[in-house]
Symmetry: C2
Subunit: 114 residues, 2 copies
C-alpha cells in the first residue's frame, strides 16, 4: 500500500506543443506497479490550456478546484469543482482555465502499450 | 464527451457485509462505455468504515474531504484531503472515518472481467 501527499509528488511543466500554463503530477503510475491505469493531477493557470488533440485512449477527469471549460467537436462545456468529464477514445478535446484561480483536476488514463 | 455534476449521480448505500455508514456513486463506469476502469466516489460517515477485505484488483484512491485512516496488514495510515492511496491487487485493506465530518474519496478500479 502506498499513501502519499499530492504535494510530495514532483510536479513538471507540460511541455507538449499547444499547452500553456499547465503542470502535471503523476500521482499513481506504472512506476508504482499500478497494473492498469495512471492517476495524474493537472494544474492550469488562468488563461492557460491543454492542447486541443485526440488520441486512442480515454480520459476520466474529476475537477478539484477552479473554473474552466472542456472543448470538443460538439462545443464547449463549463467545468468546476465537483464535476466529472469522460472523454472517449478518439474524441478531440482540450481543457482551459476560464477563471481567476488555478484550475486543478485529476485525469486518469490507461497505461500505454509498450 | 460526458460532463456531469457529481451530485446529479445516484448515490447508493454500500450494502456489503462489514461496511457501516458508507455510500457510493458510480461516476464514470461501463454503462458510459468507459473501456478500462471505473471512477467511484465513496462517502463514509463519522464512525463508519468499508469492509476489511482483499480482491485481485487494485484501488487508486484520492481523498476529497474529511479525515480517516486506511488499514492494511502493515498497520494503519492517516488520510485526509489531498492524499492518494494505492492498494495493490491481493492486499488486505479498509477505509474508516476517524473524524467528525464525512470522509469523501474517489476510488478507481479496473472493470471486472465478465
Amino acid at each position: 500500500m502506498l499513501v502519499r501527499r499530492v504535494t510530495d509528488v514532483k510536479q513538471d511543466k507540460v511541455q507538449v506543443e499547444g499547452a500553456k500554463g499547465a503542470r502535471i503530477r503523476w500521482l499513481i503510475s506504472k512506476s508504482d506497479d499500478a497494473p492498469n491505469f495512471a492517476m495524474r493531477e493537472f494544474e492550469i493557470e488562468p488563461g492557460g490550456y491543454s492542447p486541443y488533440h485526440s488520441h486512442d485512449w480515454e480520459h476520466e477527469v474529476y475537477v478539484l478546484a477552479g473554473e474552466g471549460a472542456v472543448v470538443s467537436q460538439k462545443g464547449e462545456a463549463p467545468i468546476k469543482v465537483g464535476m466529472t468529464v469522460f472523454v472517449s477514445p478518439g474524441e478531440m478535446h482540450n481543457f482551459k482555465n476560464t477563471g481567476q484561480e488555478t484550475l486543478r483536476f485529476l485525469c486518469l488514463v490507461p497505461h500505454q502499450k509498450d
